[in-house]
């Protein structure tokens, strides 16, 4: 635990000092939201519909945090030799990965609070409900989604090509969800963005408890976690493009 805490503390400082993290996780979703839903200033929708829209942006924030801030960042740490050097010092790579995940989880929680406070202030919504619902979504989805994307850190690509590619992928994944495509299919659950949105709909927005849907989502979450844990166990820490 001490080792994980030390890495958590280091990565939290990095999050605070690296302004790009704040830009990606808070400002991009907020700007996109305000551009697309500026009509809410005049005509605010019903609460249910508003939550449905906001869930899309909460999902985007979770996805950005999992893909760019965590998985791509771990990939960079592998390429720069940090992962190799500290896995020798700490005795394993697990404490580094968990420290990174926890630091980004805390950063995401703070970002989500900021996002919802701004939305609540601008559109006179209940900030407490917004914050609680978004935090519930993070609690259920962040860890499985981060673990699912851990395969990114095993990719044999160059460091400078991966960050733009995955920034684009994050947006593409959001637009490849069943609501956006207009077709409903369980196959869409291969897409973690779909998983987060479905959890948001099932846990936060829907008034009816659909046991089958809940079990499906729980199974998908477990599969994501198994994929992640196996990947972390087998991941090679040597750079695939640079000799270290």
């Amino acid at each position: 635990m001490t080792k994980t805490y030390e890495f958590f503390s280091l990565f939290l400082k990095e999050n605070v000092y690296n302004k790009m993290n704040l830009f990606w996780v808070v400002f991009i979703p907020l700007i996109l939201f305000l551009i697309n839903y500026s009509n809410w200033f005049v005509n605010r929708p019903q609460e249910q519909e508003a939550y449905l829209v906001l869930a899309f942006f909460w999902s985007l924030m979770i996805l950005i945090s999992a893909v760019i801030n965590t998985a791509v960042s771990l990939f960079m740490m592998r390429e720069e030799g940090f992962m190799k050097m500290f896995s020798f010092i700490a005795g394993s790579k697990r404490s580094i990965i968990f420290g990174k995940g926890l630091a980004n989880l805390l950063f995401l929680i703070v970002s989500m609070v900021v996002f919802n406070l701004v939305v609540a202030l601008l559109f006179q919504m209940n900030p407490f409900m917004l914050i609680m619902n978004s935090l519930l979504l993070i609690a259920v989805t962040f860890i499985p989604v981060v673990l699912f994307f851990s395969w990114i850190m095993t990719l044999p690509f160059k460091e400078d090509s991966i960050a733009p590619a995955f920034s684009l992928l994050t947006i593409v994944l959001m637009y490849l969800t069943s609501d956006m495509v207009g077709v409903q299919s369980p196959l869409f659950l291969i897409n973690p963005a779909e998983f987060i949105l479905r959890v948001a709909e099932a846990v936060i927005i829907s008034d009816v408890v659909d046991v089958t849907n809940m079990l499906t989502l729980a199974s998908v979450g477990c599969i994501y976690m198994i994929i992640g844990l196996v990947t972390i166990k087998l991941a090679n820490l040597e750079s695939r493009t640079i000799r270290q």
């Binding site: 720069e80 020798f88 010092i89 005795g91």
Partner: protein
């Protein structure tokens, strides 16, 4: 620690990176691996650390991963971290004691090193010179109490004064009982200032093994001696 008749190639049927290599590390001296770029120095280190498995040969007295400190070149750290934060990170993640008020870290340092360490303790990494950062990192690694220390070009890009500081620290750890310290470098002149045992890797083989005095016995300039060995 000894490597015996070791072969290594990255791909089946590919070029041999190491060919029948024999290396016996000295426990009481700084072991230095020299070689041209791409000669197999880092591969040799990775085999010693257990990160790569050789195709043939054996390693006697295999050191467990938890007993190895392996410094990799060019790992970036947040500039806002202070010297004490960096030392804390190294020590605490290695389950070593760390006390910011009364650092055990300073134990075993001479007066000059203590003065440098105290100067860097509250200084941000971004305000340190490259040499100061390297020295601090090497010193923090040396405080980990490991069986095997591997340093990949720890003096690369560092000014002469800082280079000697780094080398003196490594020499001091090497002289402790039962610990192996091995490093690589391209700056041969610096080796004249420390007690070291040199291995020169070329074309996958060890073409020279001995002291700095042995290396410079024919040519006083170590660069000339190096050149002659890799050309012969």
């Amino acid at each position: 620690m000894e490597i015996v008749n070791m072969d290594f190639r990255y791909q089946e049927g590919g070029r041999k990176i190491l060919d029948n290599v024999n290396v016996r590390l000295k426990p009481d001296q700084l072991n230095v691996v020299l070689g041209l770029n791409g000669s197999g120095k880092t591969t040799l280190f990775n085999i010693m650390a257990g990160s790569l498995k050789p195709n043939a040969g054996e390693l006697s007295e295999w050191v467990k991963k938890s007993e190895i400190a392996y410094q990799v070149q060019g790992v970036p750290f947040l500039n806002a971290l202070k010297g004490k934060d960096l030392v804390r990170l190294f020590l605490k993640t290695a389950s070593r004691p760390f006390d910011v008020q009364n650092p055990v870290f300073f134990d075993g340092m001479n007066e000059r090193e203590q003065s440098l360490a105290k100067h860097l303790w509250h200084l941000k990494l971004g305000d340190m010179s490259l040499g100061e950062r390297r020295w601090l990192m090497v010193t923090a690694m040396c405080a980990l109490d490991r069986k095997l220390y591997i340093f990949d070009e720890p003096t690369s890009g560092v000014d002469p004064d800082s280079r000697l500081n780094v080398l003196n620290r490594l020499e001091s750890v090497a002289s402790s009982s039962g610990q192996y310290v091995v490093m690589s470098t391209h700056t041969l002149q610096e080796l004249g200032h420390v007690e070291c045992h040199i291995f020169l890797v070329h074309d996958g083989r060890i073409v020279f093994e001995g002291s700095y005095t042995d290396l410079t016995s024919v040519h006083q300039n170590p660069d000339e001696a190096f050149r002659e060995l890799v050309r012969s």
